[in-house]
Each structure stands twice: as structure tokens, then as C-alpha cells.
Symmetry: C2
């Protein structure tokens, strides 16, 4: 049921003010959708209203969010055909089949029929943990991928990553002295959720000089320091491929991390959202089926799997899930498609394979091109992306720029990124939004702009950077 809900205040002296609301919410920082993103929206609206007139560019390019389809990456045809048919099952009635057989391949029709038989209607609530049939398919997918048994009872389908991550962290954070180890730099979902639930981040630093690798001695010393301070450190978060850094862990490194958790008595939270966008597959232990390339992020679909977690604890995770009733059913369908794409021999397989390859090769080309552009800029250094859809270049900002930034109350990297947005329309996220080693400055940029616009986009960045340096050089 769709709903209508009102939050109303009628008094002149407000009950809810910035001063009176939950202080943990005030402390939350979420740069990915922060000031830069808001300014980008303003510019877009102004261009839509009055044309590009006063700006030196015609469109805003959102490189601040990994949102492929916003930047015109095409969706996978088979996935959309099945989603379409499940939305309007009347198409499957005998009287419509002639027309429908012309528009849709038979395997998409059959998949839609199979899903509808299991689901009923995409407009009905499902099991709170996700449709059992789809969870079984996810478990099979994981088993085949990892060669390790997976139990559908321990899989939760959720409405996007944040819901899953927040439920799990909320469960672990039993009091305000709980510490959670997070990488620096990190995707701000983690730091934001720790602020929200009043836990203490225990940072460990990724080594930029070693391609943002994770060094176990870093983990050990960071944990020791936190425990010495009396923190109840309970869990370690790894993000692999890294976000914002795009690095991938080696198999050897993963084994060390699991040993570390075992020895140190830590729950491991492994965020492997982008595990199929791997651009150096030979060296990394991910399989190469590239299923993460489908870019259906607006669906808010996904899953998390519990391994070695007590049944009683899983029951509590189920209870949290049940308060939200169920994850949206269209998103669950997309999860099913992701774990069971067309197979070799299926009618839709050749097109599927072609579409996946095209996206993958294009992303790989764009990532190399953009990192080489960044590396050619004065004072900028950028590691090649090993995975995900992000680059995280480091910028040496001139002291004068840092001084001016501080004067206007901004972080120096934020100041640089705002100048970039105003000059070029390119919106990226300042490194400070992900935290970074003191005295270093970065920004995160996706490499998702469409290939045909890539040259123009790169030229605008180069021009801006030169002018910025010229303006603030001592």
C-alpha cells in the first residue's frame, strides 16, 4: 500500500529545531550527497530554466555518484524484458501472445512466467527476508562462485546496501563504547552510520604508496590502540573493491584478514558491492562473470549473507527486517536476474554477453583514460582503478589555495572541487568526505561519463586545473 504521512508543527516557537533534535543525526556527515551535490542540482536547474548562458559549459556531469544509467549506460535487455513482463502479466495472456512473441524472446517470457508463479504479484508484500525462491537462487549462485555451501535461511534480500549495512551495525552496536574498524579512506555510509548509532570508528589507513593496499600490521596497531583506550572493538569492515579507492585485495591478503578476525575475535563485514567490475582479473580472486555491471542501482536491490552467525542473532536480524515489512519486489526480481543471467545456449545469451562485454570494455578504457589524464596534470597523482567505478586522485594544493579555503571556512579539497564544479560542470566528491590521511588532499571521480563525451570532459578538467594552479600559485 502506498502511504500518506504528515509531520506537522503549528507553534511559533518550534519544538523541533536544529538545537533540539537528535544530536547524533547532527554529527552525521555524508559528502557524497552533500554541498557539492546540492550546488550541482542548482546549476542544473538554472541551465534548464535560463540556458547555459553564464556558465562556461552546457551540462552538469555527475561524477560524484556511481550511477551508470544516469550517464546513459544502457541497461541489459534481457533483464528489462523480464522486469517489464512481470509488471503487466496480462501480456502473457493467450490473446496477447502473438504481439508479445514478436516483441520479446521466448526465454524472457518463460523467465517472467517462472518468477510470477513463485511471487504472485510484484505489488504484494513478500517474505520479510526476501522471496524464498530468490534466496535459494542467490545461495546457489554463491555456492557455485565460491565453492562453499550457502544457506538461503542466512541470506537477507534488502532495499539497497545501506539498509543492510545499517541493520547489521545497529545489531552489533550494543552500547556507545563499541568500536568498529573502518578503512580510511572509506565510503561514508560507514562513518555516517556509526555517528547515527553512536559507536566509535576505529580507523585503519590504506597505503596509497602501495596502491591503496591493506597492511595487516596497520590493522594490528590500530586495533591495539583502540583496545588500549578501553573500546569494545567488535567488528572489522572491509570494502573490496575499495570505495573510493578502487583497489582490490589479493587472495593472500583476504586470507590474512580472515585470520586476523579469527585471532582478534572480530566480526567481519565484507562489502563487496563492486566485485564484478574488476579490471585486473588475472591477479584477483574474483571470477570474471562481471555481473555487477548491470548498473540497476535505482532498484534498491541487493542481499547480504550471514556466515557463522548464531541462529538467535539471525532471528533478531529477521525481526528488524520485518519492521520494514519487505524489500521492494521489483528489486528482488533484479537480484534474481543478476544471479541467473542468460546461460550459454539460451536464446538471449549472445546479446547479454555482447552487452556485458561492451560495458566492461568501455569502463576499462574510460578508467585508463581518466587516470592518465589525472596523472598528466601538474601536482596530481592517481592510481589505476583495479575495480569498482571510481578513481581517487591525490592533489597537491598550493599553500595559497589552502589559505583561501580556510578563510572561507572550507576544507581545501572541498574548495578545489567547488571551483571545478563552477568552472566545468563536473561534480566530484572531495576526499575529506571519505576521510584521508592528514595533510593529503584527494577527490573521488567516477569514470562513467559516456565515451563520446569523454574527450571534451577531460579537456575541461585539464583547463580548469591549469587555471586553478595559475590563480593560486605563490
Amino acid at each position: 500500500m502506498l502511504f500518506d504521512f504528515k509531520l506537522v508543527e503549528t507553534t511559533h516557537s518550534k519544538i523541533l529545531t536544529f538545537e533540539t533534535i537528535n544530536p547524533h543525526i547532527k554529527k552525521v556527515e555524508y559528502a557524497v550527497r552533500g554541498e557539492l551535490a546540492i550546488r550541482a542540482e542548482e546549476i542544473k536547474e538554472e541551465i534548464a530554466k535560463n540556458g547555459p548562458g553564464k556558465f562556461g559549459f552546457e551540462t552538469v556531469v555527475n561524477c560524484n555518484i556511481g550511477n551508470p544509467q544516469q550517464l546513459f549506460q544502457r541497461s541489459i535487455t534481457f533483464f528489462r524484458q523480464v522486469a517489464c513482463l512481470t509488471e503487466y502479466p496480462d501480456l502473457l495472456l493467450p490473446e496477447n501472445r502473438n504481439n508479445v512473441n514478436t516483441l520479446f524472446p521466448l526465454d524472457a517470457i518463460e523467465r517472467a512466467q517462472l518468477l510470477l508463479k513463485q511471487i504472485g504479484s510484484v505489488g504484494a508484500y513478500s517474505h520479510s527476508q526476501g522471496i524464498p525462491y530468490i534466496r535459494r537462487n542467490v545461495a546457489k549462485f554463491i555456492e557455485e562462485r565460491d565453492g562453499y555451501p550457502s544457506n538461503p535461511d542466512n541470506i537477507f534480500l534488502t532495499q539497497g546496501a545501506s539498509v543492510g549495512v545499517q541493520s547489521v551495525l545497529q545489531l552489533i552496536i550494543a552500547h556507545s563504547n563499541v568500536g568498529i574498524m573502518i578503512p580510511i579512506p572509506q565510503y561514508p555510509l560507514y562513518s555516517a552510520t556509526l555517528s547515527l548509532f553512536d559507536a566509535k570508528p576505529v580507523p585503519y589507513y590504506l597505503d596509497e604508496d602501495e596502491n591503496w593496499s591493506l597492511d595487516i600490521t596497520q590493522l594490528t596497531s590500530s586495533l591495539a590502540t583502540a583496545r588500549d583506550k578501553g573500546l569494545d572493538v567488535r567488528a572489522l569492515v572491509i570494502i573490496n573493491p575499495g570505495n573510493p579507492t578502487g583497489q582490490c585485495l589479493t587472495e593472500q591478503n583476504m586470507r590474512e584478514i580472515i585470520d586476523f578476525c579469527h585471532q582478534q575475535h572480530l566480526v567481519l563485514l565484507a562489502d563487496e558491492v563492486y566485485q564484478t567490475n574488476i579490471y585486473q582479473p588475472a591477479e584477483r580472486p574474483f571470477h570474471s562473470f562481471k555481473k555487477g555491471m548491470i548498473g540497476e542501482c535505482g532498484r534498491r536491490g541487493g542481499y547480504y549473507e550471514c556466515t557463522g552467525i548464531d541462529k538467535q542473532v539471525i532471528d533478531q536480524l529477521y525481526k528488524i527486517a520485518s519492521i520494514g515489512l519487505c524489500p521492494n519486489v521489483s528489486g528482488q526480481i533484479m537480484v534474481d536476474l543478476m544471479v541467473r543471467p542468460p546461460k550459454r545456449g539460451d536464446k538471449s545469451h549472445p546479446l547479454y554477453q555482447k552487452e556485458i562485454n561492451r560495458i566492461y570494455e568501455s569502463l576499462r578504457r574510460r578508467s585508463l583514460k581518466l587516470s592518465s589524464v589525472f596523472n598528466s596534470m601538474e601536482g596530481v597523482s592517481c592510481k589505476d582503478a583495479q575495480g569498482s567505478m571510481y578513481l581517487f586522485p591525490r592533489i597537491n594544493l598550493p599553500p595559497k589555495a589552502i589559505k583561501v579555503a580556510r578563510e572561507v571556512g572550507k576544507q581545501p579539497d572541498e574548495f578545489y572541487c567547488l571551483a571545478m564544479l563552477n568552472a566545468t560542470g563536473v561534480c566530484v566528491v572531495p576526499g575529506s568526505g571519505f576521510h584521508q590521511e592528514d595533510g593529503t588532499w584527494h577527490f573521488r571521480s567516477t569514470f562513467l561519463p559516456p565515451e563520446e563525451l569523454f574527450d571534451g570532459f577531460c579537456q575541461r578538467l585539464e583547463k580548469f586545473h591549469k587555471e586553478f594552479l595559475a590563480k593560486y600559485r605563490d
Copy 2:
């Protein structure tokens, strides 16, 4: 992007146990998806495997959740046509238009084109607060309905009611001494969320003898008691039409509630999810367009509107929303369709009107029939539903049944409902799951089973009730 996330423990002595997890989560009760619902799933699975053999019924009927399409309520054709076309925009290409024009009415095609122009792809992340175009349509809808201005900047599209309610409550609950006034009985989303965020429920009782009406003197005395105890009471929740009670507030009553909030310095949270399922429209101030009848609950769509809330506070709500990135786009599209259904003169209007009327009249008939069945049972009394999709009959349980229930560690109403489920396959929710006045027993049942099955369903209930009374009569 779809995601893959793992929660892993490797040690034998677990870090996460029932004893060590967040104690607030342990305290949460959520009966709507509790023991009864789990038992119902077990029976379903057993019937699917081994046939109905040992049960005295062939199917489980889920009257525990307002889930119309699970019980075969048909969806609105126009809504599904538009949703279908937005999923697979290739259908709108010139080469497909001949076939598509045969399958879809022109106004559905045009609406899909319009939405896609505004949205881009349903697979892309949108604005965290919801697609601006759709928020503008929601604001227009509210203005036309209420005759009171509505600002799209103050509207948040969300993934289902619980996400919206939880964000708002989390904001208000600044410390553990915050009190929130909730009706008793109440939909357990509220009590569960207050447990989760460690706030104190301040109950006010609805008057069953007066058709579950809300009495302002009850509010006043309940608030006074709570404030005397030193609670920082900040907000009043009303649910209208009531859930689980199905009552509707009169306009006079609504005005009193708003005055009460104004005088007592309270934020008003008005949950009006079911506002178009009103079966006594003449007496109640809802308009009669019945848009809530569409039953698309598996979408997880919806919105909340802030009125009189500080801009700075809304900015904080935006920040919370942005951590979840965005509500699922298909759900947002369904909100758009709900607030802009086919209008008189549109090609799809006659069918839309016919479908809505059919659902409405059928629900009304079923609600009257089921309440009359309940009222004919010995020791059961049930108010007619004024709105929503629930009945909340009161049962006088024999002392012996109460005694046996206590002996097996169950609430008496829970004991009765479990017996009902095992005997009839009908799953309802015990009144204790919604809280109720001490010493009274109820259960909540939807009246959603399909009309053609209604007689059999009612007979099973009557037979069970007689046998239950016979068994436990003194």
C-alpha cells in the same frame, strides 16, 4: 547497483550472541510478522510438500497482513501498463509501435514517455528526497485535496511507511527520556521503533465502546501523567483510519487534536495510510477518490509531508534520506500514478473507474459480512470497519482457556489465534501485538480473502470458535 555483502564470524565462542547484541533490538516486539506468521509459513511449506493431509484445510489464508494482491486482488490496469513501459523503453521505439499500440492504450504510452523524460532510467539513482517532478505532482495532489498549499521541497518520497516513520522518530528522539504519545491499540511499527531508538511510549487509549474514538480528555490526562513523571513528551502519533481498529476521525475531532498539539507544544505525526479506504465517506472528511485501494504494497512506495517544520530540520531529514541514496524508482513511479490516475475523458478512465469501484464495493461488502460473522459468534463483538482493511473483534475468552494459555507461556489471545491457525489455516494477529486495555482480548483480521472463498472461510472460523469454546468451557 545491486550489492553483495557478507557478515562473517569464524570463532567458536561467538562475538555476536543473543546476550551481546544491542539490547534495544531484543526488546522490540513485532507481532504482525511474529510467531503466528512464522507458523503460517511452516504450514504452507508442509502443504506444498506433502499436501493438506493432516490439516483440516487446503490453504493458509493470510489475514494477518493487509496484502491485497497476495489474496488475488487485481491491480489497476493503467498503473501496470505504465510501469511495464517504463521498465523496457525499447517498446517505445518506432519499430515496435505497431505491436505496442495494439497492447497498450495511448494514454498509458504517453504517460510512460512523460515519466521517462523526467526520470531518465528507472535503473538510475534519483534525488535522495525523490524525483522533483513526482514531488511536484504529489504537492499538487495534496493542494487539490486539502485546499491548503503544499511545497514539494517539504515532501519526501520513501521506500514504504516504515522508513519514513523511522527517520522522523529518530530525529525527534534526542535522548532516552523523550516520550511519544501513541494510541492503544496501535500498529506495532510505532512501539517497535520507540524500543529501537530507546524512547518512552506515552499511551492513550481509544474508546472501544465509542467505536474506537479518540477522546481529547484521554490525551490530556495521559500527557499530564507522563509530564508529571518528568518525560520530555515531544510528539503525538495519530493513525487515521485506525490500525488495527479501522475507525475514522471526525473533522471536529481532527480540529481538536490539532488544537491540542498547538496548546501542548507537540509535533503531530499523522499516519493516514489508508485514507481512501473509507466505508462511511459521508460522515468523514476524506474525499472519496479511493486512491489507496490500489494495493501496490510490494512496491515500497509512499511519501511524507512536513508542515511547519524548520528548514534546518528538513535539511537533517534530507541528510538521513541521502544515506539511503534514494527510494526505489519503480515505487516512486507508482506514487506518481496514485496521485495522477486517469482523469474523466482520458481513454483509460472508464476502466480505471470500473476497477476502483469494483474493489471498493467488494471490500465494503466483505467488511460488513465478516463483522456480522464475528458479531454472531458467542462472546465476540466487533465494530464495523469505517476505513482501512482491518477488523479488530473483541473476544471474551473462558477462564479455562486463559489458564491453559498462561501455563504454556502464551498470551491468551495469542493462544486463541494459534489454535485458530492450526484448525482453519486462517492467520490473524493477536490483540496483544497491538497492545490493548488490560484484561481485554482481541485479534486483528483483514477482510481481504477473495469474495468467492468468503463463505467457506467464514464457516471455518465459526466452526473453530464453537469447538474452542466447547473445549475450554468451565
